[in-house]
């Protein structure tokens, strides 16, 4: 939320009006480190049209995520709950579950990743086209969970980059939904950009 009443005429401290990321003048701009200021200064210049297009593209991307469930264990059952009619992720546009990595842009790693399947996970991630996002669902995918064991990967960020971590063992469907909405916000802010 923007800070209220910043323009106090009695104050002797010069202030700029404070805004939360994604809510001020630079809303929808690419805010990669170091870039945002340059872009803001360039408003009205040649970059204006590009950034506005990005905003539209990001809005579209955030509202139609196509998830690829990399479901290995218990979390996959809660993922199914989230897709099913009771919770219904279709309300947020992420209901087109694709099992081919080539048709998906959001990988939801639901379940424990063990050393034996780690190369498979990496390969499937590499097969996804850009832009791609990853949600680590649950304690196991985040950190190995309570399996501090000889065959369990201690968090999938050992292997692939992760955008959103969802806590829980397993997370509730609404928890996962919250994670997807957070990712949507991040995409719409233009924070995530790879490739």
């Amino acid at each position: 939320m923007p800070v209220q009443n910043v323009d106090n005429p009695n104050s002797i401290i010069p202030r700029k009006s404070a805004t939360a990321p994604g809510e001020g003048a630079e809303k929808g701009l690419i805010t990669l480190p170091g870039e945002s200021e340059r872009e803001v200064e360039g408003i009205g210049g040649a970059t204006y049209l590009t950034t506005k297009l990005d905003q539209v593209v990001n809005w579209a991307r955030g509202n139609s995520l196509w998830p690829l469930p990399f479901g290995t264990a218990c979390c996959a059952i809660e993922f199914m709950s989230m897709v099913s009619s009771h919770y219904d992720i279709a309300r947020f546009g992420a209901e087109v579950v694709r099992f081919s990595p080539r048709q998906a842009d959001l990988m939801i790693v639901a379940g424990t990743i063990v050393d034996k399947i780690a190369p498979v996970l990496k390969k499937i991630y590499e097969q996804m086209p850009e832009p791609k996002y990853v949600i680590a669902m649950g304690a196991c995918a985040t950190s190995g969970g309570f399996y501090r064991a000889y065959h369990v990967v201690q968090g999938i960020d050992e292997i692939i980059p992760v955008d959103i971590w969802v806590p829980g063992c397993p997370p509730t469907p609404d928890g996962l939904m919250y994670g997807i909405l957070k990712l949507k916000e991040k995409i719409e802010r233009g924070e995530i950009r790879r490739g």
Binding site: A73, S81, S84, V114, D115, K116, V120, F146, Y147, Y150
Partner: protein, 590 residues
């Protein structure tokens, strides 16, 4: 560790457990007598007395003969389990334990073969083909070789793995990374066996890899099939893609801490796993959970069984293209989660049980909520049943698909719905009742044919029978009383006492710090899981950590027959058959 001294008169009046006391099962006398009877009919076995099952120590040279005699003369037709236990201080450090079951006589028997480092045991595959994967698992986990095993390679861990993790001297956290080159090592081991058989065919053979990441493999199963045209002429399965080291983790945690790990074995019916594990430890401690706890355990077990079957049928139908049923059948599951959430706050993996009872009492409207569920579920079942049973596409895709004969099913160690679909009415709830199942009126459905359709029918009917059990339980009403045993060496004292009484505070401290310490010994207990006989074998050395926890996962035995079931069929048939077996990766790979 020292023994506890009782300082004041809190209600518990039983004896304080002392460490290193031997475990004496309640029915030891009976088992000794039966063991002596069996030993008189089979030569070359040494009876071990004082166990909960007739137990024999067998020389490794004699094991195949003894197994054969037990199978043919004494009707021990169902191989339940084969696993290892490591005692590093002994000269012959490994116990290879075989457990068999006789459906005709309703009895179990345990055999132990003692081997040292580097020694090998003759493979028992000529007698029971169902011990195939169990022997591979022993090799993987303990490094004991089986002479004459056709395919003795690692099964749960990966190709780059060094050492044998369930040995006591293996560091539980020692990992070995698997690289792309490591993955490639396995391919020649799976492929060439099919290539060798040169058949007369006009078609070029194709090898197709299904999984481990494939929508129809429900997680992490990998199937490699060789196709001649559309027909599967050879298949191999690779498992271990969800090997989460349950057994090693149990050894590094206390008895109470193992409960969440058991939840995650068959995660579709978590409470049944809790019941199996807790009752095994209770058997060892010689305690009986209160009537109210048993009652809630029974109701929730049956609800979980329904939930398990709903997932199985729902996902099986999705694989065949009937997506509506999947969404429709998830609705009663959501209602079920609501009930469990009201009981303990968690949905899918509640960890609701404790050794000796339940974690907390049920909410006051527990029975009304259960009644509502029981009233609403039949409509879902009837709708789906009507929709698919009269559907020709469904019938064509399941009838005669993935069949297995009753003899083969027994030999492979099938239990549960998959065995009952072959016409064998074996159900642990009837054969060895627990939680008071003997007082409830229910039928064990069987079907003939052993195909995918038979498994569907059995599961559908089992859900109706479970509803019958729950309805009877509701009619009896909730027993009054506590939900956990009044034994400060097992159950934590209530918080009000911990804050106000010195001795309760001490008990609380002792139990948290030193855990539950069962007497020294071993025991086995089984419950009817969603997929069949779910057994736990626990060895205690008198300390707070279990010395060894072995789970007998029903899926493991069932899935090894899969290649046999699909050979000669097509890929779509294989998908339909796989869904109907309800292979849960967490349980399969434990």
């Amino acid at each position: 560790m020292s023994t506890l001294t009782k300082y004041s008169d809190i209600p518990y009046t039983g004896p304080a457990p002392t460490n290193r006391e031997p475990y004496v099962p309640a029915d030891a006398e009976k088992m000794n007598a039966r063991g002596a009877e069996i030993a008189s009919r089979i030569s070359g076995v040494t009876q071990e007395t004082g166990q909960d099952l007739p137990t024999f120590v067998v020389d490794k040279e004699r094991i195949v003969d003894v197994l054969r005699a037990l199978k043919h003369d004494l009707k021990f037709t169902l191989p339940l389990d084969c696993f290892g236990v490591d005692y590093p201080r002994r000269e012959q450090r490994f116990d290879i334990v075989y457990q068999l079951y006789s459906i005709e006589n309703n009895e179990r028997v345990r055999l132990k073969v003692r081997v040292g480092e580097g020694e090998s045991v003759p493979s028992s595959l000529p007698v029971y083909q169902g011990l195939n994967w169990f022997e591979r698992e022993v090799f993987d986990m303990f490094g004991v070789k089986f002479d004459g095993h056709p395919n003795l390679r690692r099964i749960l861990t990966h190709e780059n793995f060094q050492g044998h993790p369930l040995r006591k001297d293996y560091d539980p956290a020692q990992r070995w990374l698997l690289t792309e080159e490591g993955v490639a090592k396995i391919i020649p081991q799976i492929d060439p066996r099919f290539a060798q058989e040169e058949a007369e065919s006009d078609f070029e053979r194709v090898t197709l890899n299904l999984g481990p990441s494939h929508p129809a493999t429900h997680g992490t199963l990998r199937i490699v099939v060789t196709l001649d045209g559309e027909t599967i002429v050879g298949a191999d399965t690779e498992i271990g893609y969800l090997h989460r080291c349950f057994e090693k983790m149990s050894e590094t945690h206390t008895y109470q801490q193992v409960i969440p790990f058991t939840d995650r074995l068959n995660y579709c019916s978590a409470i049944i796993n809790n019941v199996g594990y807790c009752m095994t430890v209770e058997k060892m401690l010689g305690i009986q959970s209160p009537a109210r706890a048993d009652y809630v355990r029974l109701i929730l077990s049956e609800l979980m069984r329904i939930g398990d079957h709903l997932i199985c049928i729902g996902t099986n139908l999705v694989d065949m293209g009937a997506l509506t049923n999947f969404w429709y059948l998830f609705q009663p599951r959501e209602e079920m989660y609501g009930l469990i959430e009201a009981c303990c706050g968690a949905r899918l993996l509640p960890s609701y049980l404790r050794i000796g009872g339940l974690a907390v009492d049920v909410p006051p409207n527990f029975l009304q909520m259960t009644q509502k569920l029981v009233d609403s579920i039949p409509r879902f079942l009837d709708d789906v049943d009507k929709l698919v049973r009269t559907n020709r596409i469904f019938r064509d895709r399941v009838e005669g698909i993935g069949p297995i004969s009753a003899e083969d099913a027994l030999d492979f160690g099938f239990t549960g719905p998959c065995l009952r679909a072959c016409g064998i009415p074996y159900d642990v709830r009837k054969a060895n009742p627990y939680l008071g199942y003997e007082t409830y009126d229910f039928d064990v459905p069987i079907a003939d044919g052993g195909d995918t359709y038979a498994r569907y029918l059995v599961r559908m009917e089992e859900m109706r029978q479970s509803l019958r059990i729950i309805q009877q339980a509701i009619d009896r009403g909730l027993p009054t009383g506590p939900v956990i045993v009044d034994n400060p060496y097992v159950a934590l004292p209530p918080k009000s006492k911990v804050y106000n009484e010195m001795e309760s505070l001490i008990y609380h401290f002792k139990l948290i710090m030193h855990g539950i310490q069962p007497p020294v010994g071993e025991t086995y207990f089984q419950v009817e899981g969603g997929n069949g006989e779910l057994g736990f074998y626990i060895v205690s050395d008198g300390t707070k950590n279990p010395y060894r926890v072995r789970v007998r996962p029903p899926c493991f035995a069932i899935y090894q027959a899969f290649t046999k079931m699909i050979t000669g069929q097509t890929i779509p048939d294989a998908i339909a058959a796989l869904g109907s077996l309800n292979i849960i990766a967490g349980e399969l790979d434990h």
